[in-house]
Structure formats: structure tokens, C-alpha cells
């Protein structure tokens, strides 16, 4: 047995880890695309809208964080800040009726797939006017009519469900594909491996996407999983891709190609998108597992700022237009706070609603 000097170490050490005095980054970002929007098939209006949606996600969450800190609502609040290029690039790359399902870091996904700021903020507040009628909260944003099947709170639990959405699409031969997003932490769950095996075996049109933001809650990727995440696909004979998630155009380019191939060939794909979460895992995270310097390094690659610079540098818009967009978004977000605060909580009867599609039954119901 090891003595004190030769203490057995299981999980690799993360704190104060550095290589040659340089910060050992939790995720190494691949290069971004060199292509401009036109050669990617995006119009000027498309990229302007991409910026608007990214700015909306950012401001929505920054304001939500403020409201949470003021004690306006409770529960968990997992922020997507820093990862907005992934949701935005993906939604532009997919058809509107392709299916999207994600984990609990879901606000950005909802906003890009048509949940209005009002519906989103009201959901955070637990109001009846929320996208999920106040029954789901932060982790369960959804708009199924827009094929956004929601956020899910059990790490890895929604991965087989994503494969199931694809199964139904293939069974019904409707030309739709399903995309299933999860964090690097979910890579370690058995549900992913079972789903990948079946998806490859049954040739399901599904894209499994790891949004590798560097941390599984507070555990750096290199401390919770072995090897390169995207290389897991090899074991299943599945096609895979790795790309930068801090640039919406890079995400768009890659996801468009992948979606086209998955749709045409009816085959699954495993994708690792490297991104970075600026905020803690949730609001109660003291972030003792990473340095300020590391955070600042990544903030230099901010996806929202990058898209703004692109619009300006390419002469697509002038600063005045940017100011206008931001002003409108800011108002929309502030209005959503008013809307949420003024909205009613669900009526007591709502407690028993939405449990069943068919006949309701509640054991020992003494209402």
C-alpha cells in the first residue's frame, strides 16, 4: 500500500496545473473557417440576424443572472454565455423542422429556435406564461411546435431520446434529421455509448454533438475523460468531426455539411464542438477550479464580439446599425423582465394539469 509520500492518485490533478509556466487550457480550440458568409451561402441579412440572435442570447442571460442574484426567482440557472455560436450556427444550418434536443444549458437553444424572450423569462420566473407554463423552469425550456424538444436535467438522459427522435423520422421517412447536444460531462455516461452503438447499427439520421466547454461542472475535461472525445466515434465506425465553436460561421459551415450528409445517407455523426463556458456551472459555482487568466484568454475569442467585428470589418453594417440592433434587443429583454414580473403564477388547478394526454388518474386524489 502506498504510504503518505507515495499517495495513490486517481483523478488527475487539475489545480495550479501549468506547462512551462503557461496555462494548460481545458480545451484547445481548432482554427476557425476562412470562408466568408457569401461563399457559405449566407446572405447579409442572415449574418445580421445571426448577430442579433447571439446578442439576444447574451443579454437575455446576463439580465436573467441579475434577476436571479436579486432573488427574483429560484431554482438552478445554468448559463450558456460563451457558447452562443454553437446554437446560432447550428439552427441556421438545419432545416426548421429538423429536431433539436439538448441538456439543461438550454436558454440559448430555445431563444434561437423561437422561444420569445417573454416566454423564456416568464419560464425562469415560474409563470404560467412561460414556454413550459412554469412547470419546467430554466432546465426545461421547450417549443416542440418548432421541433425544439427541450432541455433535460439528467446528464446523458436525453441522448437515447435524441436517437429516438431520429428513429421516428426514419420510420416515417419524413426527411427530417435529429440533433442531440450535450456537454463534455455526458461523454462519460453509458447512455451515450448505447445510443451510438444502436444509431450506427440502425443507421439513424442523428447528429450527436458534444459541446465541449472544458468543464464537467468543475472537473476539467482532461480530468474526467480519456483521450480525444471526437475519436470515440472510431470505436463505432461512426463518422466524426471536430471544430471550433467560438465562431458562428465555422459552426454553420460544418453543421450544414454534416446535416446534408446525415439527411442524404441516413447515417449518424459524432461531433465535438470546442467552446468555452464563461460563467460557472450554475449560479452557486465559486469557480475555484480555474484561473482568471484562463477565463480571460477565452474571452478574447468571444463569439458575440467576433460576429460584430465580422459585420463591421466586412462592411455589412455600420456601427449605427449595430447600435440599433442592440438597442432593440436590450428593450426586448427588459420588456421580458416586466412581462415575467407582471405575469401570473400558474393557478392551483395547474398542479394537476399536463400530467396526461389521455384520461388523467391520480392515486388517492382527494381534491
Amino acid at each position: 500500500m502506498a504510504n503518505k509520500e507515495q499517495e495513490a492518485i486517481f483523478t488527475p490533478i487539475g489545480l495550479n496545473n501549468s506547462e512551462n509556466g503557461k496555462i494548460d487550457k481545458s480545451v484547445k480550440l481548432p482554427p476557425v473557417t476562412k470562408k466568408k458568409h457569401k461563399s457559405l451561402g449566407l446572405s447579409e441579412d442572415d449574418v445580421i440576424e445571426m448577430y442579433r440572435l447571439m446578442y439576444l442570447q447574451r443579454r437575455f442571460e446576463e439580465r436573467a443572472m441579475q434577476m436571479y442574484q436579486k432573488g427574483k426567482f429560484g431554482g438552478f440557472l445554468h448559463l450558456y454565455i460563451g457558447q452562443e455560436a454553437v446554437s446560432t450556427g447550428t439552427v441556421f444550418a438545419l432545416n426548421d423542422d429538423d429536431d433539436i434536443i439538448t441538456a439543461y444549458r438550454d436558454h440559448g437553444w430555445g431563444l434561437v429556435r423561437g422561444i420569445t424572450p417573454n416566454e423564456g423569462m416568464a419560464e425562469l420566473y415560474g409563470k404560467a406564461t412561460g414556454c413550459s407554463k412554469g412547470k419546467g423552469g430554466s432546465m426545461h425550456f421547450a417549443k416542440t411546435e418548432n421541433h425544439f424538444w427541450g432541455g433535460y436535467g439528467i446528464v446523458g438522459g436525453h441522448i437515447p431520446i435524441g436517437a429516438g427522435l431520429a428513429f421516428a423520422n426514419k420510420y416515417q421517412d419524413n426527411g427530417r434529421i435529429a440533433t442531440c447536444f450535450f456537454g463534455d460531462g455526458a461523454v462519460d455516461q453509458g447512455s451515450l455509448h448505447e445510443s451510438m452503438n444502436i444509431a450506427q447499427l440502425w443507421k439513424l439520421p442523428v447528429v450527436f454533438v458534444v459541446e465541449n466547454n472544458g468543464y464537467s461542472m468543475g472537473t476539467a475535461a482532461r480530468r474526467h475523460t480519456v483521450g480525444e472525445i471526437h475519436e470515440r466515434a472510431k470505436g463505432y465506425g461512426m463518422k466524426s468531426a471536430l471544430f471550433n465553436g467560438m465562431d458562428a460561421l465555422t459552426v454553420y459551415e460544418n453543421m450544414k455539411n454534416i446535416a446534408d450528409e446525415v439527411r442524404k445517407e441516413s447515417l449518424p455523426y459524432f461531433v465535438e464542438i470546442r467552446t468555452y463556458r464563461y460563467r460557472g456551472h450554475s449560479m452557486s459555482d465559486p469557480q475555484k477550479y480555474r484561473t482568471k487568466e484562463e477565463l480571460q484568454e477565452y474571452q478574447k475569442t468571444d463569439p458575440v464580439e467576433r460576429m460584430k467585428s465580422y459585420l463591421l470589418d466586412e462592411g455589412i453594417v455600420k456601427q449605427k446599425k449595430i447600435d440599433e440592433i442592440e438597442e432593440v434587443v436590450e428593450k426586448e429583454v427588459m420588456d421580458s423582465i416586466d412581462f415575467a414580473e407582471e405575469s401570473s403564477f400558474p393557478e392551483p388547478e395547474a398542479l394537476y394539469e399536463d400530467m396526461f394526454t389521455g384520461t388523467s388518474h391520480f392515486h388517492d386524489d382527494r381534491r
Binding site: 426545461h140 439528467i154 438522459g157 436525453h158 431520446i161 429516438g164 421516428a168 400530467m355
Partner: protein, 327 residues
């Protein structure tokens, strides 16, 4: 009426519903080319092909979740477990997802899915193949749990389960698949979920027993009849929703009750029904309600220990004797 084996009744139900609705499909381990581990799906592959009769890998969590996703996205999956003992690996999909998705999305999705397969013990199979899970799943809001005892119930209830717009757990038994019984030949024969059936009328004591336990209750009733004790047997058929009204009405007549439950004692169906009886029929009871359950012990392999472990007719007779003060 036609005389069918339990497995044939199940197969008819699946066949009729697949024939009726193209959205219905079945998947599970060995359901297709093997023709079903217990031959419930025999012939379905030939009739419906590989698109609708699907062999899965041994990945209960994975294929159950695929079923949930497929149900949300417009289909009506029947997910077969080789036994509910293996479905423990899929519990996250049943408990955390199938039962909760609709509610937590504010009613934006439906999960019309049937999880079915044998439940509880089937002889000397050891501790991990012998647990009754009906009470455990009945604990969770949003799930219906059916555990029929005879072929006719099996057919009518399985058809209703497949037509349900919400998740249903449908439990069978390896030891009942060969059981023969008369099955209605009525066209489109369904039995409503949540209705108990008085299967034997009697005036002295009410015995509540479902699934495999119904048959030991029946044996006990035959023995007791010889002693002049008339047992009324109620088969709840559905564990959830539970038809307490039929049980209470019977107790108003018999004033005594024994509940036979193949689960362990803590928090099982017997505990719950016992509670409801004391609240709803307290003034009618001439004796405390008794229950016959497994002990709070894992299933042993050794034959004499296994026989000691599993409730049998003798245990039921003893319980009836207790509530009738015959000993």
C-alpha cells in the same frame, strides 16, 4: 370464446394493434429473428417485417430511451424487456423521462409507449432475476401499471395499453405464458385500464391478488372451500390506477381482507391498499387486514429456501385463518 395460451393472447393483442395502426411497432431483445425469448412475438416478423419488429442489442437504457424519443415524435412503441429485472438498467428512461417529459414541458409532448415483459420471479433464478417491480413503478406519477393474471385480461388490457396516449408498464410472467384460458373473440376486444374484477364470489373474506399471485389465491380458495370458508377473490388487474372501490365494496360484504402481493413488504401494493382499506372501510372490518408478501430478503437459489421465500397457497390460507379467527 377461444382457448388461448397467455402468450397467444398477448400476441393477438400486439398483432391486432399493429395491423390497426402503422405507428405501432415492437422492439426488444430477441423479438424478431428469434421469434421472442418467450415466443410472445412469434410470427410477427414474418407478417410485419424488419421495420416494425426490431431486434435490439442488450442495451436496455439505450433502446428504452429510443422508444421514449420515438413516442414523443409521433410513434407508438412497444418496448419488450426480457424481464423487468433487466429494466432496472432503463429505469432512468421510464422514471425520469417517460413519466415526466409531458409535465415538465408544460404539456408540449406526449409519450404513448408500452414497456412490457415478465415481472417478478420464475423459479430458481437467483436474486437479480426475481423481483416484482409493479409496486415500484406504481409509485411514480404519470405511469400506469398493469399486471394481469389470465389470458383474457392480458389481451383486452394490452390492447388498451397500446392505445393509451400515456406511458404504460405491462407486466407478465414467464410462468404464466403457457397458461390457457378462454379469451373473448369479440371484435376489437379491450378492457379499460384501472378496473378490478371479482373473479370468485364469496361471503367470508376478500382476497386481493394480481398476476401470478392470483393463482395461489385461487388454490387457497379451493382448499378453504372444503373447510366451508367462502373466499371472494378480487384481481385488481391494474396496479395503477388502483380500483379501490371494488375492494371496499367487497369488504363491506365480507368484513375481512387479505392482500397477496409478490413484492417485498416495504411500501408495496399491499401496504398501500391496506392503508386505503383502513381509511375507507374501517367501520366494516371485523379483523385487521393481513398481507402475504415476500419477506424482506433477496431471492435465494436453493430450492427449499426459494419455496420458503415465495408466497404460496399455504401462506394465504394462514392469513385467511388469521382474519377469520380460525386459529
Amino acid at each position: 370464446m377461444a382457448v388461448l395460451q397467455f402468450r397467444e393472447a398477448l400476441m393477438q393483442a400486439i398483432d391486432e394493434e399493429m395491423d390497426r395502426d402503422e405507428k405501432v411497432f415492437i422492439m426488444g431483445e430477441e423479438v424478431a429473428e428469434y421469434n421472442g425469448a418467450y415466443k410472445v412475438t412469434e410470427g410477427l416478423l414474418d407478417k410485419y417485417g424488419f421495420r416494425r419488429v426490431i431486434d435490439t442489442p442488450i442495451s436496455e437504457l439505450g433502446f428504452s430511451g429510443i422508444g421514449v424519443g420515438a413516442a414523443m415524435n409521433g410513434l407508438r412503441p412497444i418496448v419488450e424487456f426480457m424481464t423487468f429485472n433487466f429494466a432496472v438498467l432503463a429505469a432512468d428512461q421510464i422514471i425520469n423521462h417517460a413519466s415526466k417529459v409531458r409535465y415538465m414541458l408544460g404539456g408540449q409532448a406526449s409519450v404513448p409507449i408500452v414497456f412490457r415483459g415478465p415481472n417478478a420471479s420464475a423459479g430458481q433464478l437467483g436474486a437479480t432475476h426475481s423481483v416484482a417491480y409493479d409496486s415500484m413503478y406504481a409509485h411514480f406519477p404519470g405511469l400506469s401499471v398493469i399486471y394481469p393474471s389470465e389470458p383474457d385480461d392480458a389481451k383486452g388490457l394490452l390492447k388498451s395499453a397500446i392505445r393509451s396516449d400515456d406511458p404504460v408498464l405491462f407486466m407478465e410472467s414467464e410462468q404464466m405464458y403457457g397458461l390457457k384460458g378462454e379469451v373473448s373473440e369479440a371484435e376489437d376486444y379491450t378492457i379499460p385500464i384501472g378496473k378490478a374484477k371479482v373473479k370468485r364470489e364469496g361471503s367470508d373474506v376478500t382476497v386481493v391478488a394480481s398476476g401470478k399471485m392470483y393463482h395461489i389465491a385461487k388454490q387457497a380458495a379451493s382448499e378453504l372451500e372444503k373447510d366451508g370458508v367462502e373466499v371472494e377473490i378480487i384481481d385488481p388487474r391494474t396496479i395503477k390506477p388502483f380500483d379501490i372501490e371494488t375492494v371496499v365494496n367487497s369488504i363491506k360484504k365480507t368484513n375481512r381482507c387479505v392482500i397477496v402481493d409478490e413484492a417485498h413488504p416495504f411500501g408495496g401494493m399491499a401496504a398501500e391498499v391496506g392503508f386505503l382499506i383502513q381509511r375507507e372501510a374501517f367501520d366494516y372490518l371485523d379483523a385487521p387486514v393481513q398481507r402475504v408478501t415476500l419477506p424482506d430478503v433477496n431471492a435465494p437459489f436453493s430450492k427449499p429456501l426459494f419455496d420458503l421465500w415465495l408466497p404460496d397457497a399455504k401462506n394465504v390460507i394462514e392469513a385467511v385463518n388469521t382474519v377469520t379467527y380460525r386459529k
